[in-house]
């Protein structure tokens, strides 16, 4: 079927529309959204397999040929990210069924989550720069609603900041696309890339490259532009926080990877030099934040920022090893961040606080929760059999062989501090004398734990079976390093 690659976008959008008709039927909403998201996972998995077997999949929407219509492109990178997104969305919905509360479910919670998935999957799949903007907006609109959903005071305050920052960055995105369009005269990404290589990326195109870095850096929270993230991600309830932490920033990172590898690879020294510099500062800042706080949510939130730095550093080094490492790491990081957020959500639910100093001894009553957290934590830090290891190993190896010694050492040293920050949670939260908490009995820990346990199992499998998934990763790397493959697939030359 030629329309296969649109199914990960179409299934959630149809589900979202269907759910709009049933705001009052909560059980029906839960079942429908869980089943259909599971369907999305299946579709995305078979899409990955199809891309693996038959090469890059393209679809000229409305039958208009490549540079004139919108083209959707699924290469291995976007297909794997779509699969990861669908898995995380499925598990977050599973978690929401037990935790989000009927008051929120009654007000279109599930349809909006579906629309968020539409935006993220669409942004990963599109091959048109303006269509990317539109899917960004679909994603951001849904995230605005999810952020403010429920209307507590902190959510209202933080969503004002979040919306303000994102409206400005979206306006900048439109301006940047306008500049790019006036220089190259096309919106199709493959066609833009072809035309930029004809003029060899002169001064104005480097300026546009930096403007894109600012735009996507604002969405993806890199060093000087991350300021909105710690506050905004602190506000919403756990499953929403997990969706945001796992998906939204990664779309920004993916867009940087896509535009830089496809458009702006001609002036490596300057554009990539800035990217490397900023990504290292991002790592340093994220790590400092992660060890500074005694608050569960803040620690994990700053870990997101550090991970973004690691991914972008690996990508910007641009060697075979390091790019493979960062593709591997982005998938690992999405999964493990979702797991960590869901686990600390359970801890907060039990203890009624997110302050580490006010909790202790949870391991006595909740050993399953404790060991799931432990596995997720060591996987985040990158202990060998688990999934965090291989990505970082490849990134660091790539860094050393390409002569970015300082950068590779920063990545290496950051792992230590990340391990310290999550072990702090383990030591303060789980060890020590047990205390009694008000919500102790009422929290359905067992059913809440299903989603994070599945995520941790996936992460372990990714680590143990890294040989098996490596062919997929190297296929994604191939397109990133040789834009010609992408261009040929889209323009069919």
């Amino acid at each position: 079927m030629i329309n296969f690659l649109i199914l990960p976008i179409l299934v959630p959008i149809l589900t979202g529309i269907l759910l709009l008709f049933l705001p009052r039927h909560i059980y029906l909403q839960r079942w429908i959204s869980a089943i259909s998201t599971f369907g999305t996972v299946m579709v995305a998995a078979s899409l990955v397999q199809k891309v693996y077997q038959d090469g890059i999949q393209t679809l000229d929407v409305s039958s208009w040929e490549a540079p004139f219509g919108i083209t959707l492109v699924s290469d291995m990178l976007s297909a794997t990210l779509v699969l990861t997104t669908s898995i995380i969305a499925f598990l977050c919905i599973l978690y929401s069924c037990f935790s989000i509360g009927e008051a929120r479910e009654r007000f279109y919670y599930y349809p909006i989550v579906q629309f968020l998935v539409v935006g993220v999957n669409g942004a990963f799949t599109t091959g048109d720069i303006f269509n990317l903007f539109v899917f960004f907006e679909v994603m951001l609109m849904s995230s605005y609603v999810l952020l403010v959903h429920g209307g507590t005071k902190i959510q209202l305050r933080e969503s004002i900041k979040y919306i303000l920052v994102n409206v400005i960055s979206s306006a900048l995105f439109v301006i940047t696309v306008a500049y790019l369009y006036s220089v190259v005269g096309s919106l199709n990404m493959a066609h833009i890339s072809e035309r930029i290589s004809e003029v060899e990326q002169n001064g104005i195109l480097t300026v546009i490259a930096i403007l894109f870095l600012i735009v996507f850096g604002l969405k993806g929270a890199i060093f000087p532009l991350y300021f909105w993230l710690p506050g905004s991600y602190y506000a919403p309830p756990t499953p929403i926080m997990a969706l945001f932490g796992a998906l939204l920033t990664k779309v920004g990172v993916y867009s940087i990877m896509r535009t830089y590898s496809l458009f702006f690879y001609h002036d490596y020294e300057y554009t990539y030099g800035i990217l490397i510099f900023l990504s290292l500062l991002t790592i340093i800042l994220g790590v400092i934040g992660a060890i500074a706080y005694m608050d569960l949510k803040k620690i994990i939130i700053y870990n997101i920022i550090a991970a973004i730095g690691v991914i972008l550093f690996g990508f910007a080094v641009m060697s075979l090893d390091s790019v493979a490492g960062s593709v591997y790491y982005i998938v690992h990081d999405m999964i493990i961040k979702a797991a960590l957020f869901l686990i600390i959500g359970i801890m907060i639910k039990i203890t009624g606080t997110s302050n580490l100093k006010k909790m202790s001894g949870l391991i006595k009553r909740y050993p399953g929760l404790a060991w799931t957290f432990f596995l997720a934590a060591v996987s985040l830090a990158g202990i060998p059999p688990l999934s965090g290891f291989f990505g970082k190993l490849l990134i660091i190896r790539g860094g050393f062989t390409e002569g970015f010694n300082v950068g590779a050492e920063i990545v290496l040293f950051s792992s230590l501090l990340i391990l310290f920050s999550v072990m702090k949670i383990f030591i303060y939260g789980f060890w020590g004398e047990p205390r009694s908490y008000p919500e102790d009995e009422k929290t359905p820990v067992k059913s809440l734990l299903i989603a994070p346990v599945i995520l941790v199992i996936i992460s372990i499998l990714m680590g143990v079976g890294s040989e098996a998934i490596f062919p997929y990763i190297s296929l994604a790397v191939e397109t990133l390093l040789n834009p010609d493959i992408y261009i040929d697939a889209v323009l069919k030359e």
């Binding site: 030629i2 649109i6 959008i13 709009l20 679809l59 039958s63």
Partner: protein
């Protein structure tokens, strides 16, 4: 009183004009978005001249469902191409014999536009009604 009488006269002219610009969208300026905005403009005039209750008596629909129906039209038109195994959103057109109107040129883009039209009405009216009902 004057406002209400004027509304009675103007309402249908505005709605006719909006329907006209909706159908003219393919060949002339117009289309689903502007048509939908003008229809909801007519409904807002009704709201100003009378009150919320009157509007609900005349149009007993929940506008939130209108959004969903409109989205269904738009996505449904696009997704129908899946059944014919042509790329997503590929439109079809042709001359169709309709009993009363005779031979008419029809295009599935109209159905897509109808979706846009309904969504725009639904969204505008939902915004205005919820703000209006807010105490």
């Amino acid at each position: 009183m004057i406002l209400q009488v004027c509304t009675k006269v103007c309402l249908f002219i505005i709605i006719l004009f909006s329907v006209h610009s909706f159908f003219a969208g393919h060949y002339e300026p117009g289309g689903g978005f502007i048509g939908g905005l003008m229809t909801s403009g007519a409904l807002v005039l009704l709201l100003i001249a009378y009150d919320m209750k009157t509007l609900k008596n005349i149009l007993p629909i929940d506008f939130k469902y209108l959004i969903a129906v409109g989205l269904l039209f738009a996505v449904g038109t696009a997704a129908a191409s899946l059944f014919f195994n042509v790329p997503f959103l590929t439109h079809a057109f042709g001359d169709v014999q309709i009993p009363i109107l005779g031979e008419t040129a029809l295009h599935t883009a109209t159905l897509f536009d109808l979706g846009v039209y309904l969504v725009v009405i639904g969204v505008t009216m939902t915004i205005i009604q919820t703000i209006g009902e807010d105490e």
